[in-house]
Every structure is written in C-alpha cells, then in structure tokens.
C-alpha cells in the first residue's frame, strides 16, 4: 500500500540508522557464554559497546581484532588468529562470534578462509564454536546485520537429527526486547511446548545479577540448544527479517516454519494461538482467552483517543510494521514514516509513503503530528516540535527499563495501547472560550485533539 522512497540527498542528518556489524554483535550477545567480536578497528567495537551499555544499563562483552592502518593493508589474518587465541585464553567462551566491518570488507579480508586455517593450526580450539558473518558497514542497517548473523548461526551450528516432539524454535527479530522474549517463552510453554529462542537476549541482557563475574555473555541460547534447533518440530520466525534464518534452517535440517511479521496486535496473536494450539494439540489456556478479551476491551476504551491521530514514526522495518499496523488498526494515521533499510514488509504498510531516510526527513514531515515514535535520538526533534514522544527501539539511553518494555502478546499489546492512549490524553487541549471563535493559529495546532478534549 505504501510507496517506498529512497531519499535523494548526500548528507544524512540525525541518523535513524545504526550499522549492520553491531546488529550482528547484539544477536551474538543473545548466545550463552559467547564473545561477540568485531573484525575492525577498536573504535568499531567501542561505539557499539557504549551504545548497548547505555541502552541496556548492563555490562556488554564485546571484543575487537584491533586492526590498524598497517594490518589492514597487510590483511587481517594475524589479528583474527591472535584475537581468537586471546579470547579463548582469557575468557574461555563456548562461542567466538565474529562480524566484519567496513574497514576489513573494503580491504577484502577472507575471514571464512582464515577460520579454516586457524582451525587446522590450532586443535586446542576444537571445542570452541567459531561463527563468522560478513557485515560491511556501508551495506544495510542494524536489522540486516542481526538477520545475517542469525542465519549464519543456524547455518553453521544447527544439526539435522531426529525430531524432538514438542520442541519449537523461536527465531527472534532484533525488534524484540528481553521482556518480549520472556513473554513469548511463557506463551509457548503454556501450551506444553518447549521453546528454543534464538538469539535469546532474555538470558543475557535482562538485567539480572549473576553470582560471579563473567567476561562473556551471562546467558542466552546455549550451544547445545543452537545445535538442537535442527531437531525441532517447527520454527516460528518473528519479524520478516528472520525469514532467511528460518529458510536456512529448513534447507539444512528440514524444520518447517512460519513467519509472523510481529506479535503486536490482535490478529497476529490470534494466529499465534492457532499455531500453538495446532502444534501442541491443546486448546488455548484460559489465561490467554481472558487476555484476548482484555485486549479487545482496551481497544474499545482507547479507540476514542486514537481516531484520526497523526503519527510520525521512525523505526527499523519490522518494528515499524509491528507498531505502525497496531496504531492504524485503532484508527490512527501514519503521516510521517521513515525507516532504515529496504524490506518486503514496507510495501504493505498502511501509509501513503515510507522513506528510507533519517530523522531530519522525519522532522520535516512531522509538523502538526500528534505523536512521535522513534528511538531516543528523537528527543531533540520532539522538543523542537513539542510532540508527545514514545521511545521505541534501540538505542533508548535516556530512560530506564528498555529491556523490559513488553509489546508482544495480547497483554503486551494491551499495555502499549494504554501507554499511547495516556500520552494522547495528557497532551489533549483543554477547551477555552476562544477555541471556537476563529480558527486562530493556536487553535489550529491542536485541532485534532478537540474531540478528545470534549470527551
């Protein structure tokens, strides 16, 4: 429905997009006892690290091959080898997961080849899983790096073997928070199924206090679980960008899959219930029947405040679809829409147009909107345009609780609806004697809030 427009300008201003390598690195952070590593200069890792630390308010293990000018030109074999040996010696991870960067891709380092050589040379690494994914900084965005990383993980590590009854894979997109993943785990388990969530940030980045210091990830999908994804009955991929990984797993191990573009909203959760009921042979538990009813009630209560509201939203494609469709589904309008990278889902978005651009593009189009939805970098424009501002996505560095923002399931959807409705209510204009006299400049600004105020 939407026309996808690549913004034609030379200078990106106030980027919405983050780079693919750190998307891959965050996916690796969802693996247990893993050391995510960027093959690039030390700054590539430092920037990603600081970003994640500020978002999750957690220590984040992440290493670098520390390339410099000379090693870049000579090729990075020695650095990759040394990095792996050092990490193995110092942190003893089960998985060392490497993503390339713009620097090493421009040079053209053949890291897959390096790893084969390193394997031959160092039998002491036999027990360590090595995963490498190619993610040049100048191609795609965060979500793309995440998608490639997960596809590569299953390609390298999933093992075809006899099926385990009742075991379900959940391939989780980058738009899901640790809190979302906990909710999904509960949902699947409620049907008596055993989920393997990959990658599982709810094990590593959920903000728990471990008993001891660990130099690697504090939890997440274990190596054994990753291998066992090949033995599951079914794969549920959440977010279109998880399709490639699901397809890869099907090709390698024959596990059938379905992609749900999000788990936010009534329809998509109905589909989830149907799927889980079919796979488990059990009816939906009463708890969720009740929650569905509560969600409908929330929609009924909230729709007064959503009708005709104009939304400015900037998000990666799959988060955009999840939140955008929900908002439109309760009567709001996606007036200004910006995303980071091409995706097949964009064309189906209920909006006139979707820009692949930056927050400057969004700001130009957000004049007169009723709500801004984007990550924390929207704070400057929200202040300039005086818009209510819902923070969603990564990074969220100026609020606490980013890891526990839950927007999946009937319950998560219900809470998101309330949160947004409350923002509309808080921003509503109180009627004044002169409101109806002349469509004065002040009145026009808030014209769309008038029905809400009258309510």
């Amino acid at each position: 429905m939407a026309i996808v427009i690549h913004v034609k300008k030379s200078c990106a201003v106030n980027p919405l997009k983050m780079s693919a390598p750190i998307g891959a690195a965050l996916a690796f952070t969802g693996l247990d006892n893993c050391m995510p590593t960027l093959h690039g200069s030390q700054g590539c890792t430092a920037f990603g690290l600081v970003l994640f630390v500020r978002h999750f308010k957690e220590a984040v293990p992440m290493q670098t091959t520390a390339m410099n000018e000379a090693t870049t030109i000579m090729g990075g074999y020695d650095n990759v080898e040394q990095a792996i040996l050092n990490i193995h010696k110092r942190a003893k991870p089960s998985i060392i997961a490497i993503a390339s960067t713009g620097l090493t891709e421009t040079k053209g380092d053949d890291v897959d080849g390096y790893l084969t050589l390193i394997r031959k040379k160092h039998p002491e690494l036999d027990e360590v899983a090595l995963v490498y994914v190619s993610t040049p900084d100048y191609v795609g965005a965060f979500q793309d790096g995440w998608a490639k990383a997960v596809a590569k993980i299953v390609k390298e590590l999933a093992e075809p073997a006899p099926q385990i009854a009742g075991q379900i894979n959940v391939l989780a997109g980058s738009h899901l928070t640790p809190g979302d993943l906990e909710e999904i785990r509960e949902l699947v388990e409620a049907f008596g199924l055993k989920p393997i969530i990959l990658p599982d940030l709810s094990g590593s980045m959920d903000g728990h206090i471990p008993d001891n210091f660990s130099p690697t990830t504090l939890g997440g999908t274990t190596l054994a679980e990753i291998r066992a994804t090949g033995r599951s009955e079914f794969t549920l991929a959440i977010g279109e960008h998880m399709r490639e990984a699901a397809q890869t797993l099907q090709n390698k191990c024959g596990v059938p899959f379905e992609v749900l573009e999000s788990l936010t909203g009534l329809d998509t959760n109905d589909r989830l219930m149907t799927l889980l009921a079919a796979k488990s042979g059990r009816p939906a538990p009463n708890k969720y029947r009740r929650q569905r009813s509560q969600l409908m009630d929330a929609m009924l209560d909230a729709h007064f405040y959503f009708g005709g509201k104009k939304i400015a939203i900037g998000a990666e494609p799959d988060l955009l679809v999840a939140v955008g469709k929900l908002l439109v589904g309760i009567g709001a309008e996606l007036t200004a829409v910006v995303t980071t990278t091409p995706s097949p889902v964009l064309a189906h978005l209920p909006a006139q147009e979707v820009l692949i651009g930056d927050l400057e593009d969004l700001e130009q189009r957000a004049q007169g909107c009723d709500l801004l939805v984007t990550h924390s970098h929207g704070r400057q424009m929200a202040e300039r345009l005086k818009l209510p501002f819902l923070r969603m996505g990564i990074p969220m560095f100026d609020r606490l609780g980013a890891a526990h923002q839950v927007t999946v399931g009937y319950r998560g959807t219900r809470n998101l609806i309330f949160e947004i409705a409350n923002m509309f209510m808080a921003a509503a204009h109180e009627p004044e004697p002169d409101d109806w006299r002349q469509p004065a400049a002040q009145g026009a600004e808030c014209g769309s809030c008038a029905p809400a105020a009258a309510h």
């Binding site: 780079s19 030390q42 600081v50 630390v53 713009g102 040079k107 900084d137 130099p215």
Partner: protein, 491 residues
C-alpha cells in the same frame, strides 16, 4: 596519507609531554600508542578522540565522512553543554554506500557540505576522516579546500581516521587541525589584559559554568575555551589571549605548547577538581596575567576570593566529614584526573585504596606517590575481574570510574559513582566538590545496599550455610555506617 603519518609522528614527538621527556630518542619516535592486543583491547579510536575534542564547538556542523557506523552508532552521546547553538548536537554523516567505496566518496562529500551550508548555515563545517574513506584514498583536504573557496566559509579537514591509533592520539590530531586551520584566522573585537584561554576543557555537564562566575568576579575573561561551549570564531581568535590554562594535559598539550611558541601565550597545567587544585589554578591564572602586564591588584583580589570560597567549602563539609571519614575508595580513571581527585577525596578524609594510572604521566604518578605515600596502590591496567573481586571482598567501599565499568561495581552490589564524560553532575570548582562529596555520601548511604545484599528467602530455607555467609558479608560491608544518623539529616 604521507601528511597524516608525518602529523602522527610530530604529535608523538611532543616535547612538552612528561612521558616523552623521560624517553630516549628512539623510543620517542616509536610513539606513545601502545600496540593493541587483538581480542583484549578496549577503548575508542582516533576518530572518537578527535570528535570528543572538537564536538563541543557549538556553532560548527560536525560532518563525519564514512559509513553509518562512525556517526550513526555514536551521535549525540556526549555531555558537553552549550549556552547557545545546539547545532553541534546534530548528527551529520555522508553515510557512504558500496558505490562510494568503489568509485570514491569525494563528490558525495562535497555535495554534503553544500547541503549543510544551504540548510543549516553553520559558522564552519568540520569534516572528519574515517577508516574506510581513508583506505579508499578520499582526499578530504582537497575537498575541504575546494568547498571553502566555493562557499566562502571555513571547511576544516580533521584527519584522524580510527585506525591510526587510540582516542588520545585523536585528541591531539584534532588539536593539530585547529592549529593548522583555525587558530589565528580571525581577530577579536576587543582585547583586555585579562584574556585567557582554557584548553582541554569540554564543559561536560556544564562544568565550565561552575568555574566561570569566579573568573568573572576576578575580572578575568575567558577569551576562548578549547573547546567547551566554544563558538568557531572564539577559537579562531584565541591567539590573542594573554595566558592559558591547560586542563587535561594528555589531550591537548600540543595546542598549549604550540600557542606558546607561536603567539607567546604562556600556559600552566592545572585542574578544576579538588579544593587545592582549584585554588592553585585561580592563583596561576592571576599570576600569569600579571606577569604579562595585568595590574597587580588581580593577585590580591584572587586571594580574597580563594579565602572566601575555601572557608565556605569547609563549612559545607562539616556534616559530611564524620560520615565519609575512612571510607575506602577505588578510583578508576585516567590521567590528570587521578591525582587531582585523589587529593580532593583525601581532603574530606576518605582513603584511596587503589587508583588507576593507565593514562597518567610519570609526573602524575609522582604526585600520586606524594599524596598517597610510597606504597600507593597504583594499578596500571586492572582487569574487570580484579575490580569485581576487590569490591566483592569489600576491600573498597565505593568505586568511582567511567560508565563502562559501572556494572562491575553494581553487580557486586557495591556503590558506584560516574566521574567520566557521560556523567550528569558537574564536579568542577568549589561547588563541584561539594556536589561530588554529596553524591558519594548519597551513594554510600542509600538504603538499597542493605536490601540488595540480603539473601533471598529460598537461600535462607534451602541452604543455611550460604545464607549465613551472605549475612556476614553484609555486616562487614555495612559495619562502618551503622551508627551514623540517617541520610535525611545530611542532605
């Protein structure tokens, strides 16, 4: 690249650097960038350092020429405050794509500069080189030159791609760019005998504004701060100052030294952290100005202010002194801040059980020894595991460090305070020290520590042994504080 490598060499050769003075000819040439160990490295790159050093210039558009990572992953994440323009907080990047990598990104860069002038009308554009664009050979110097001619406003190349070295090298290369292209290019409307430059102060959390009122009272004018809350023009005419204070020695020593050589602006190295250091800095500013011809009554005026401020400070310390006496502090920070914070904390009776000297010069280390005694527990490079153990074993009561290591303390359920660049509180000057002490007290005496150290109910029932161990631990940690009055009476 040849100019860049000669620049790097020049920066390594810095004669005024304390570390360099102690080195032989050959060692000096090798430079001060420690060879990084792949798989065991931490910290930002040269580009990061250059950006940190220059971004506080508020009316400049800071344009990063490179792939999205360099700006997209990091923009608007530093705490430098502005009294005017907020343009410096706008993220500009060429966000180069695959085609740029193949065909070169120079035209793309030039067009980006044009768009910025058209839309934002900045005082100048600073163009930051990055690894990828350096590797493909984009000549940003040539593009900047052409753009300056075309648009009639300064377009300054900042040639510090990430892979040439660490953050500190980037700070210095940024300084070189200012020396080469900015400083000395404009003239101030007026000058006074009281004009100073403050070099290496970034106005994080507004710290410059904590100090400025006192300078105002002395009658001293900050002609230019490089680079906190600076306007482009102020930096451009900074060569007319009478004297300079260099705040963070390792970061911008080359600017201070070269400005002394070129423009005969004498400088001293000082700090705004801690009472003694703050007072010394004010004295030194006055002394240098009087040496350069300012009326001598400035000295008297300064002393009067110092006497008043110090007395006021100690009055404010009274309620804290008992509570902070003997509190053991683990201080993990860089360079000059180590000794100035060490002395500050000791002044209010705290005990420093360890301090990092990773970025400190020999001189810094000497100062720490003077302050902490010969057996000063200086750690060159403490691993996170060691920090965690030290805190867990209660060898320290609180850790002060940068944001990256905060979770080591918090996961050990120990108090922590941010004293690095992302911090939200301003700790400079006399007022800043009061804030720091208040924040330390707030952190130490927060009632959460007792709560979070309590064993879980199932630990009590299920594993008696574990439960007793935990309780003992809690008592040890809280032992020193039990008898003191509640937090409310102090704050």
């Amino acid at each position: 690249m040849s100019t860049l490598s000669s620049k790097v060499q020049e920066v390594f050769d810095e004669p005024a650097c304390g570390k360099n003075q102690a080195k032989g000819e050959k060692e000096r040439k090798k430079g001060c960038t420690k060879q990084l160990v792949p798989g065991a490295a931490a910290g930002g790159c040269a580009f990061d350092g250059a950006k940190i050093a220059l971004q506080p210039i508020t009316d400049v558009a800071h344009l990063v020429h490179g792939p999205i990572a360099c700006e997209g992953n990091s923009w608007d994440n530093r705490g430098a405050k502005s009294s005017g323009s907020s343009l410096y907080r706008t993220g500009f990047t060429t966000d180069i794509n695959e085609l740029d990598v193949v065909y070169g990104g120079e035209k793309h860069l030039f067009k980006s500069v044009k768009e910025i002038f058209d839309k934002y009308d900045p005082a100048a554009v600073f163009v930051y080189q990055t690894c990828v664009t350096a590797l493909i050979g984009d000549d940003i110097e040539a593009v900047c030159k052409a753009a300056t001619q075309k648009f009639g406003k300064p377009v300054i190349p900042i040639d510090a791609p990430g892979f040439v070295g660490n953050k500190n090298l980037g700070n210095k290369l940024a300084g070189e760019a200012l020396l080469d292209y900015v400083i000395g290019t404009e003239e101030p409307d007026t000058t006074t005998p009281y004009d100073i430059n403050i070099i290496g102060e970034y106005n994080l959390a507004g710290e410059l504004w904590q100090v400025k009122p006192l300078l105002d009272e002395m009658g001293v004018r900050i002609l230019s701060c490089i680079s906190g809350d600076a306007k482009y023009r102020e930096v451009a005419y900074s060569h007319r100052a009478k004297a300079a204070m260099m705040v963070c020695s390792k970061a911008m020593i080359n600017i201070a030294r070269k400005m002394e050589e070129r423009y005969e602006i004498p400088f001293f190295e000082g700090s705004f952290y801690g009472i003694t250091d703050m007072s010394d800095s004010l004295r030194n500013i006055a002394r240098l100005l009087v040496d350069k011809g300012a009326p001598a009554d400035l000295l008297e005026r300064t002393e009067a202010i110092i006497r008043r401020e110090e007395a006021a400070f100690w009055v404010q310390m009274v309620p804290y002194k008992d509570r902070l006496k003997g509190v053991k502090v683990l201080l993990i920070t860089g360079g000059v801040k180590s000794w100035s914070v060490v002395s500050a904390l000791q002044e209010v009776g705290m005990e420093i059980v360890g301090t990092s000297v990773k970025k400190s010069t020999l001189e810094d280390k000497q100062k720490i020894k003077e302050l902490m005694g010969e057996d000063a527990h200086m750690v060159d490079d403490m691993t996170p595991r060691e920090m965690y153990k030290m805190l867990k074993d209660a060898e320290a009561d609180i850790m002060l460090s940068g944001g990256r290591s905060q979770f080591i303390a918090l996961k050990a359920k120990m108090p922590w305070l941010d004293i690095n660049q992302e911090r939200h509180h301003a700790y400079a000057g006399y007022d800043g020290m009061v804030t720091l002490v208040r924040e330390i007290a707030n952190a130490l005496y927060n009632p959460i520590w007792e709560q979070v150290r309590k064993p879980a109910p199932w630990e009590m029932q299920g594993d008696k042994k574990l439960a007793t161990e935990n309780t003992e631990h809690t008592e040890v940690l809280l032992g020193g504080f039990r008898s003191v009055p509640s937090v409310a009476s102090v704050v």
